[in-house]
Amino acid sequence: MSIWPTEREYIAGPEDFETVDMTINIGPAHPATHGVFRMILTVDGERVVDCEPFIGYLHRGLEKLTENADYRQAMGWWDRTDYLAGMSCEMAYCMAVEKLAGIQIPERAEYIRVMMAELSRIASHFIAIGSFGQDVGSFGTSFTYAWRERERIYDFFEEVAGDRMFPTYLRPGGLQMDLPENYEPRVRWLINSIRQGIDDLDGLLTGNEIFVERCRGLSEINTERAINLGLTGPMIRATGYAWDIRKDVPYSVYDQFDFEIPTGFGTGDVLDRYLVRMAEMYQSTRIVEQCLDKLPGGLVLHPDLPKTIRIDDAECYIRTEGTKGEYSVYGMARGGNKPYRMKLRSPSFCNLSALKELVVGHYVADAVIILGSLDIVLGEVDK
């Protein structure tokens, strides 16, 4: 008779000893949730066994509001969906209205729109990477580095449109007004500053062994699964599939530019998502540069635009590459000066739906990083 427990008992433990899973509530006010998002993690020790997300804390009824306002009045609310990149949201909305009304906008306006959308993308990715660095645990340094460049971009937006986060610069039919006089040296300076900022962040985060060790091989996902989950944007590009609406279904004047779709190393892990965002910022600066070079003269607003846009029966689906993924708008008009329906397909919401699958099985500390790598914006998730 041995004094040691038999093998079965070793695994199962004594009869009266049981372990209980613990639930941890993260959010709605928690530094890791980047807004008002709540998730309940069920953990076994430090391992996540279940994850239940709760959304809706920032629901403002965007789609219903749009149905009750004039085509131009609704503009301001669409800024506030992806509030880190107001201009790209405006662009999608304006494109939907223009498609419904059949308005052709001046070429100069198209180029300026693209420039603004790309600058917004850079600003949004800076915030994503800066706060992602904070999630991984750097004490706000990556955040302030990123914030510096984002502030400079927003300063430019303020000069252009009079507002920083919610510029309401675009109009159905073109732009509110032309660029300020000194825009060209201003934007070139901005591009240099942004490239310097990307370089700084690259040295601070990518050059850090701990950062790379934390991110590599975390929550890998393959292309097929990513497509099935409806992931778009950097999330799917990180899996190695170069899917980008700007290239694959070109809209506006994106077919005029020479830029690449970064795909990282194609493993779909957190590190790849981070690298894709870094590379995308660089490609966006290239697009902005080409915009400056090719910017044609002329008007920025359609000259024969009626004061009130009235649209008879029309229907459209506009796909744009938002900062977080495919930002699409389904529009329907049935006469009058208000849309009958404006549906938003928000990339953050679709990417967030993959959260449970990505998080389960990892450590609590990694759950926070994975959530950060999804780069959600709650204004867009909750609409």
Binding site: M22, T23, I24, N25, H30, P31, A32, E46, G133, Q134, D135, V136, G137, S138, F139, G140, T141, F143, T144, Y145, R148, I198, D199, D202, G203, L204, L205, T206, G207, N208, E209, I210, F211, V212, E213, R214, G240, A242, E260, I261, P262, T263, G264, F265, G266, L275, M278, A279, M281, Y282, Y363, V364, A365, D366, V368
Partner: protein, 380 residues
């Protein structure tokens, strides 16, 4: 030597007067230093992050520390309904007292400290190891899940890093052949022990960061995950006790580290010049030490708990045991001191080289830095 000097036995009532005065001086100085360390950290980290830090309270925000102290002292002392009352209320004191205990034996200048103990080094790491009891009490008594996770993480981390820490100190003690901190300092008249034991120094520094819960080993407090960990439920004076512990032990560890490795008040020429210079040396070294801790904190992300454990058990512990063994051979056979230096620096170079090589050896790409500029697709 005056009769009131450090290290001599003073008989009778005078001993009590003497010790009370010395403790009062050390405690007051430590409190002021801790107050201004919080200010200093905010300023230092702010400069790293391209900010200004506190600027509004007094010139350059110099009164910020005092304002913070008053705010903390007058704040309501909250206790959650779920908390275990006595465990919760006592935990800050249990955490703080070991730090005060450590200050008793640190030599700040020649023959000046509160009391010299012949087992000083042993006493220091024994007392600082007691911290964890208070942290566990706070974690378990708060009735909060974040606090529980933080407390347990702290315990696991403390246990793993105590071993390399103590062994690296023992490597020095083997050379000094004493545990008396005053004697250890005097032995560094010609050269500080960091010259002889660079590997032990590197390991000591790493393990010390972990004991202090500073980045990159700050998983028990992890602001972005468990929002402060074990002290999440505390407020007012009890919270400030934890703050005092954090910065007080940072100060204590840096004085201790500079005494053991950097020559304390003795090197260079401390023994020949007066006590003012010796105090200056002690504080200069400890402040440089603290600044390096803050610098690391401002730039480095956090490790995950399994990486943390693996680093302690798989890297630090074997290396420090090797160092320990080599020291033993060299000292037993009376080989020259240069050999100590040679073996230990090879070890330190090996450790640093290992980490650098690991960083350079990427399974899929030679370098990630600057990869964002390369044309994509070729790397995929």
């Amino acid at each position: 030597m005056s009769p009131l000097s450090f290290g001599n036995h003073i008989p009778g009532l005078w001993a009590w007067f003497d010790v009370v005065i010395r403790i009062a001086i050390v405690t007051l100085v430590m409190t002021v230093i801790v107050m201004y360390l919080t200010y200093g950290e905010r300023k230092f980290v702010a400069r790293v992050q391209q900010r200004l830090g506190p600027m509004r309270t007094g010139p350059w925000g110099l009164f910020q520390a005092i304002a913070d102290t008053f705010k903390l002292l007058t704040k309501e002392d909250l206790r959650p309904a779920q908390a275990d009352r006595w465990v919760f209320e006592l935990a800050p004191y249990v955490t703080f007292v070991p730090v005060l205990m450590v200050l008793v034996t640190l030599p700040f200048a020649k023959d000046w400290g509160v009391r010299n103990l012949s087992l000083g080094m042993f006493y220091v790491f024994a007392a600082l190891g007691l911290n964890i009891v208070g942290i566990l009490m706070a974690g378990l008594g708060s009735g909060n899940k974040y606090a529980l996770l933080g407390g347990l993480r702290a315990a696991a981390q403390m246990i793993s890093y105590e071993i390399p820490l103590v062994l690296s100190l023992i490597s020095v003690a083997m050379i000094a052949q004493t545990l008396d901190l005053n004697v250890i300092t005097e032995l560094q008249h010609r050269r500080p022990f960091i010259v002889l034991q660079p590997l032990a120094f590197v390991i000591f520094y790493t393990a010390m960061l972990s004991e202090l819960h500073r980045a990159p080993f700050d998983i028990p407090v992890a602001e972005s995950e468990i929002v402060g960990g074990f002290f999440i439920e505390y407020s007012g004076i009890r919270w400030s006790m934890f703050q005092l512990t954090e910065y007080g032990s940072m100060f204590a560890w840096s004085v201790f580290g500079s005494v053991v490795f950097l020559g304390g008040w003795e090197w260079p020429w401390g023994g020949d010049v007066g006590w003012g210079y010796q105090l200056f040396l002690t504080f200069l070294k400890s402040f440089i030490w603290i600044a390096s801790i803050l610098w690391v904190r401002a730039t480095v992300p956090r490790l995950r708990i399994d990486q943390l454990m693996a680093f302690s058990w798989k890297v630090l512990l074997p290396l420090v045991l090797l160092q320990f063994l080599m020291n033993g051979f060299i000292l037993v056979y009376g080989w020259p001191e240069e050999l100590l230096f040679a073996t230990s620096s090879i070890g330190a170079a090996g450790l640093i080289g290992f980490i650098v090589m690991r960083g350079l050896y990427r399974p899929k790409s030679p370098s990630l830095v600057g990869a964002y500029k390369q044309p994509q697709g070729s790397s995929a």
